[in-house]
Amino acid sequence: MTVREIEFRDALREAMSEEMRRDKRVFLLGEEVAQYNGAYKVSKGMLDEFGPRRIIDTPISESGFAGMAIGAAMMGLKPIVEFMSWSFSLVAADPILNNAPKMLYMSGGQFGCPVVFRGNDGAGGQLGSTHSWCVEGLYSNVPGIKIAIPSNPYDAKGLLKTAIRGSDPVFFLESERMLGNKGEVPEEEYTVPFGQAKVLREGTDCTLASWGRPVHFCMEAATELQKQGISCEVIDLRTVRPLDIGTVVRSVRKTGACVVVDQSWSFGSPGSELASQVHRHCFDDLDNYVHRVHSADVPTPYATNLEQEYLPNARRIAEAVRSATYNL
């Protein structure tokens, strides 16, 4: 196997381009995806290869083009919709939450909706309150969609290819802060299935379960805690719907402690769901309640120091682990 180091954004582009080469039904649309080469250069060069009929610049009109993609998907096409930011998907709430996830059900199995919505999610760095949404907090509540939140280029490419090939609607959540992250990605074809968590680091004292960007903070905290004699097992869930609860439960049965790290707000979040499931399945294995590290329960602040403290970070994660394992 030939492995190279490429950026997260390159991995995303490779996934889309490879899938577009193998299936003419796949096309990409969104703001600035074509002539501008992508607001974040994810789709750089794709217009040159695939032409304007398949790489389509849209106006700033999320509700319109998201709905248009859904209509096209009902007809059997496989659109990839790029939201420049998932924060902008809020104005497309009706198509993405009321149409895409419910079409198959309310048509009694007649019309599926094979569409992938993808883009930047979470705080991008001093973008302020309206541009820093972690939409998984809202959207994971809705049945009928799959949600992938990769933390590294390898997973990003493999999961996105899986998303595009599948027949059900997928929300694919990337992070502006990670697009330049480099990672090892094979030249050869591969996919990463949904619903399979990855144990990134084995440990014995506490399970750290997370997805997306905060996975890196968990790894940072685990390294720090190791020096203090606390051994953490770090699990990257990779998709929150489906959620691989089995891997987390197996780990917690071994460690007896669990900290869930989720960048969305705490109230009614994927993190609270995961914690509740761990409580249910590991009631007799836990030495302490499942701790959770989320973004602070306030709108996202602009000032660097406040934003840094607002987000899950290694220090807050380490504090949670120490609290969860205080009786060790």
Partner: protein
Amino acid sequence: MTTLPPPVNVPTTPSSGSPAPVVAVHSKVFGDTEHLQAPPPAVEVPAERMRAWLREMFLIREFEVRCMQAYQEKKIGGFCHVYIGQEAVAVGCTAAVEHRDPIVTAYRDHGHALARGMDPKHCMAEMFGRIGGCAKGKGGSMHMFDRDNNLFGGHGIVGAQTPLGAGLAFACKYQDEVIDGGRNGRVALCFLGDGALNQGAFHEALNLAGLFDLPVIYVIENNGYSMGTAIARGTTMAHSLITKAAGYGIDGYVVDGMDVVEVHSAMKHVADRCRATSRPAFVDMRTYRFKGHSMSDPRKYRSKEEEEVFEAGDPIGTLQARLMSMGALTEDGWRAMQKEVRDQVREAVAWSDASPPPPMSELHHDVFLEPWGPYTGSSQPEMNGGTANPAGVRTIDTKEELL
């Protein structure tokens, strides 16, 4: 002091003179008196076809009457919006396009489903919440879908179907240009009520349709009221809705939606043009709903006199009289047609009564095409043979417990 530029030349509300009573009522509802453009050259239609339209319109009427009864009997729950009065629109429009042309509509959708060819028993059973319904009883009155008849729903949120309509047209065009490398020239029909004109989704859809040259026809079923709000109370330029389309570079047409022959003739013209040019169109289809917005609407916002004026222009009576004056329909023939339709609808009700409620296994069915966790995959309704849908490429490859 700056001088304002001269006003843009747009139609203004005509001053009220002392017009004829019918015209005055129409003017009160729609805001003008000369609303109909010169009709396009009439399309020659054989009497046999017109008789078929009469039957279809009467089928919708009779079906809706039975729906209202069934609603009173609590066989139908939730919201139920009947199409009585607007039959000429669905029948004339579907007659003017081809069966392969996709159609999408709003929640007042029983008429479109029947006009598209759905068997009334599957339509009625859906409303009864039975497994024999077009969506196995999981959609309800507002969500009539029919894959084999290219009906892409029944959509409940006002205006939600307008970007979907653009998407259907986009797919028709993409299929031609990218996949087949040819041109089969399908057009999409998207129906919406006048109330949807004020939703953002509608304006976004029109902009996209205009921008991308999408072959979609937006048919505004302008019945003068969005629920209880008269159009002019909620919509600017109510007397000239086509000016809204003009803002997006889209040709607008005003059509008398109470005369099926005229609806067909005008829509044939519009659809042929749309097919040939791949340009969208906007049709202000003037119609009137004889009943309330939904079953709970006492219609206090309009007068009995107004209703009587429009009822006198009943699209069914109009076509029936026309056929009789042409010598293409006899009293006996009309009576026989009515009986046949009544029997058909009665049969649909009996069939729906006998169709069982969906089994509990339907609860977690049709959520995802791919089976996983509690979800059991998906299959077609009885109407389409009940076959299992292919799950497609597996995205989940694990035996683990998943949530």
